[in-house]
């Protein structure tokens, strides 16, 4: 009843091809963005920003990048942490070594270098896929781990091995309060999400999906597997690199290579799987889920433990979290391999015909 498309006829191809074809969707998204940009900063406290909102926004951006590679183009990647690291360290270097480098340009340059590294380690995808490609991306991960630890140039020859940035500002507007940081990251997220959506519903997106679904047939139609795969690596790494820069600059302030370890790669991959592979929306869902889950468990488990008279130690808590995490991954893969995004679209389908059952 509320979600009916009655009367919404499309008279041009252009209107049929737009991102949100149902006008209720368009209003909803506008409202959501307005809420995120205006209402949230007014009401959220510092803890909410630091622990939930900012990580969510940045990781959603990274998950978006990973989804393009893994979800849309079907190339499995366990090296996303490394690409984030490249983005962060190269942004750091251009920020620190070049006088008067604007923040945004530094971050984008980090993304650019991440693109180069991503494409280099994406070359094996032209020969192998699946597990074998996963191993190649792991090579990227470990190599970058070592590089940023041992090669002094990247850390500006800092003896402690970690780097830090401070006093970030854009065009004179200082980014120091949690709200300002949040809005800065949110801006990146919205812009990149829009660009990504355009790519994904355009010709290159179809090329990516064709490669994912059946790459031999794609070649027969005239799609160049090399161009499609490398462009997926390039675009994905760019976005992930920028996210890495944001993570280091805005969220952490000071970091070392361990911030972008293989655990981060796994985390991003799980976001994509649980959120929904091949879905922009899914990246958001996945990021929210993964960011909120540990916090939820931290509150829930001790309480549940008390109910049955067991005090849960912190060590046991973290082990149980890991167990539940693994179990959830498996559960999702069995029940809904297409993730939360699929559940969401099923819900919308039901909503379209509500209150009728079918």
């Amino acid at each position: 009843m509320l979600y009916r498309e009655n009367g919404q006829f499309k008279t041009t191809y252009r209107s049929d091809q737009q991102i949100f074809t149902i006008s209720q969707d368009r209003w909803a998204i506008l409202a959501l963005v307005a809420f995120a940009a205006i209402a949230v900063p007014l009401f959220a406290d510092e803890y909410l920003f630091r622990a939930i909102l900012i990580p969510f926004v940045i990781l959603a951006l990274a998950a978006l990048g990973v989804n393009i590679l893994v979800g849309y183009c079907g190339q499995i990647s366990l090296g996303s942490g490394a690409f984030m690291a490249v983005g962060a360290y190269m942004a750091y270097n251009s920020y620190v070594r070049i006088e008067g480098m604007p923040l945004i340009v530094a971050l984008l340059s980090g993304g650019f270098f991440a693109t180069l590294v991503g494409m280099a380690f994406g070359i094996p995808s032209l020969r192998v896929k699946g597990l074998y490609l996963a191993v190649a991306t792991l090579a990227a991960q470990f190599f970058c781990d070592w590089t940023f630890l041992r090669v002094g140039w990247f850390t500006n020859n800092n003896p402690s091995g970690s780097v830090s940035v401070s006093n970030l500002s854009v065009l004179g507007w200082s980014i120091d309060s949690p709200a300002a940081k949040y809005l800065f990251c949110l801006a990146f997220l919205v812009v990149f999400a829009l660009l990504a959506k355009n790519l994904v519903r355009g010709a290159i997106g179809r090329e990516w999906m064709a490669i994912r679904d059946m790459d031999v047939a794609a070649a027969v139609i005239g799609i160049r597997p090399m161009y499609a795969k490398l462009s997926a690596f390039a675009v994905s790494s760019f976005i992930v690199g920028v996210a890495g820069g944001l993570w280091g600059f805005v969220h952490l302030g000071a970091w070392e290579p361990a911030a972008f370890s293989i655990d981060r790669s796994f985390q991003l991959l799980f976001m994509v799987i649980i959120g929904g592979m091949g879905s922009i929306m899914g990246s958001f869902f996945g990021a929210a889920f993964i960011v909120l889950l540990p916090i939820l468990l931290n509150q829930l488990l001790p309480w549940a433990g008390e109910l049955i008279g067991v005090t849960v130690s912190t060590a046991a808590l973290s082990h149980t979290e890991v167990m539940i995490f693994g179990a959830l991954i498996v559960w999702f893969l069995i029940v809904e391999p297409h993730g939360l995004a699929k559940l969401w679209s099923i819900a919308k389908q039901k909503l379209r015909i509500w209150p009728f059952p079918h």
Binding site: I76, P124, R127, W146, R150, H319, I329
Partner: protein, 297 residues
């Protein structure tokens, strides 16, 4: 040598892949879990039953740990694999990733997360051999030799099992084509339980040997990641490949650390194996002994 240890873990991977076409990321976690089980059981059982003899205590602990691995295998098949029969490889891979996390957490919850020792009486003193050929002789580690012997025995037993028995034949059929195997009446579920039990035993053996050498600690899970390049080198479908690959990687890592390390600042053990695997992936993805990967339209 670390190479032999890698080879043992790689063996587990290869066995499951050969038999079911599934790449089991959780093998590393299983090694740790098995090792933990063994370590703790060998502590608890003598106390519980009042046994003095080390040998009997260890034997019982081994049986208990093996039984536990069988239960684990059965649970994995029942709760996870059965539902994912027709999914593509990527989904199965992710599922085993999830299982990895789960087993990680489970092991530490059940058995605790300190460092434990396994003592099964492996000889710890070194042996000097070939004294006539090389000056001072070549330093061989008796422990490694025993490990190699155990690994060889395991491989031989498993090869016999796969080649000679009907179950082994069924396993190979399943690895080739799940649906075809099902359609001729092979009970897929039971086969998978068997496969994972075999992998579990392999994990147990590997875990015991690792554990007795290094102590049972959490870093054992990184073992899975270290073993991946071994499989790439040796070939995912080749048992001898796993052994030889393990040896090559083990030796290669040490050599590269000694010779290349000082040139670039040290610590390259981490990625040497992976870079080597990368080179193989670009030029010979099937590894030294694996089967060529063919795509059909």
């Amino acid at each position: 040598m670390a190479g032999m240890l890698y080879a043992l873990v790689a063996l587990g991977f290869v066995l499951i892949f050969k038999a079911s076409g599934v790449f089991n990321f959780a093998q590393g976690a299983m090694v740790l879990f098995a090792a933990l089980a063994m370590a703790r059981f060998s502590e608890w059982i003598p106390g519980l039953l009042g046994i003095d003899s080390k040998l009997v205590g260890n034997l019982l602990a081994f049986c208990a740990a093996a039984a536990l691995m069988f239960v684990l295998a059965w649970l994995i098949e029942r709760l996870v694999l059965r539902h994912l029969v027709n999914q593509e490889g990527v989904t199965l891979l992710m599922a085993t990733l999830g299982i990895t996390y789960f087993i990680d957490g489970l092991g530490q919850t059940l058995f605790g997360s300190d460092i434990y020792k396994i003592d099964i009486g492996m000889p710890k003193d070194p042996l000097f051999a070939f004294e006539s050929m090389f000056q001072g002789g070549v330093l061989l580690n008796k422990e490694d030799m025993v490990a190699a012997a155990i690994a060889a025995a395991l491989v031989a037993a498993l090869s016999l099992f796969f080649q000679k028995t009907a179950t082994g034949r069924a396993l190979r059929a399943v690895a080739d084509d799940h649906q075809a195997a099902q359609s001729i009446g092979i009970p897929l579920n039971r086969i998978w339980v068997i496969v994972w039990c075999v992998a579990g035993i392999t994990a147990l053996v590997a875990g015991i040997i690792w554990g007795s050498k290094l102590g049972v600690q959490f870093s054992l899970t990184t073992v899975a990641l270290r073993a991946l390049p071994v499989i790439i080198l040796g070939g995912l479908t080749s048992v001898p490949g796993a052994i030889i690959g393990g040896l090559i990687i083990g030796v290669g890592e040490k050599l590269s650390e000694v010779y290349l390390g000082p040139l670039v600042g040290g610590g390259i053990e981490i990625w040497f194996a992976y870079m080597l695997a990368l080179v193989f992936l670009l030029f010979r993805p099937q590894g030294l002994f694996g089967e060529k990967i063919i795509d059909r339209v």
